[in-house]
């Protein structure tokens, strides 16, 4: 499964989001620092779910990191996050 689909699957399973956008922005960073040639180095995620409502900003990001797991967060160079309550 492509990384983009793995990210989508894990976040959907963990948070049942009402809004989820996973955008692979790796092409915009081709040849820059952090581009490993995989085409799967830079991602942007916009997610909204009720579970995030009471959390602080840091807690929201930590929850997303935990749901993705080390195998994904260690693999990608950059993960831009916009996490909202719903």
């Amino acid at each position: 499964m492509r990384l983009e689909q793995q990210i989508r699957a894990r976040l959907t399973a963990a948070f049942a989001p009402v809004r989820l956008e996973v955008v692979n922005e790796s092409h915009r960073h081709a040849g820059h620092a952090g581009d490993d040639g995989s085409g799967e180095s830079h991602f942007r995620v916009v997610i909204a779910a009720p579970a995030f409502g009471p959390m602080t900003r840091i807690a929201r990001h930590r929850a997303v990191h935990a749901a993705l797991g080390r195998d994904i967060t260690d693999r990608i160079h950059a993960l831009a996050l916009d996490v909202q309550g719903a």
Partner: protein
């Protein structure tokens, strides 16, 4: 506690504002690090920049220190504030001003307002 962890603790306890980043505040090596350093520079915040690319132990250690997988990481008075997205959101919402006020860290309020106006 490992040597890297101990060095990180000493650094963030010994300096009011510390940014762990890729590159330096004058020569950032990554767009996300560049953005946070740029905001702090523009707001006139006196901060220590730690270049993780210059020290592999610190580069790995800082991720474990705050259980946070990405760089940059901003610390104010020993407390982890967040990475690029969180610092950007807090700058635009005024929460960063409030945090710096609460912690007694000097900055140029007018410059912070300029950033918000430019991004309104």
């Amino acid at each position: 506690m490992s040597d890297a962890m101990e060095r990180i603790r000493a650094t963030i306890e010994g300096n009011d504002v510390v940014l762990y980043m890729k590159g330096t505040k004058m020569m950032p090596q990554c767009g996300f690090s560049s953005r946070v350093a740029g905001v702090l520079n523009y707001m006139g915040v006196d901060f220590l920049d730690v270049d993780v690319l210059a020290d592999p132990e610190i580069r790995q250690g800082i991720k474990e220190f705050s259980d946070w997988p990405t760089i940059p990481q901003l610390y104010v008075k020993g407390e982890f504030v967040g990475g690029c997205d969180i610092v950007t959101e807090m700058t635009l919402s005024g929460e960063l001003d409030a945090l710096l006020d609460a912690k007694g860290v000097a900055y140029d309020k007018a410059r912070a307002e300029e950033i918000r106006k430019a991004n309104a």
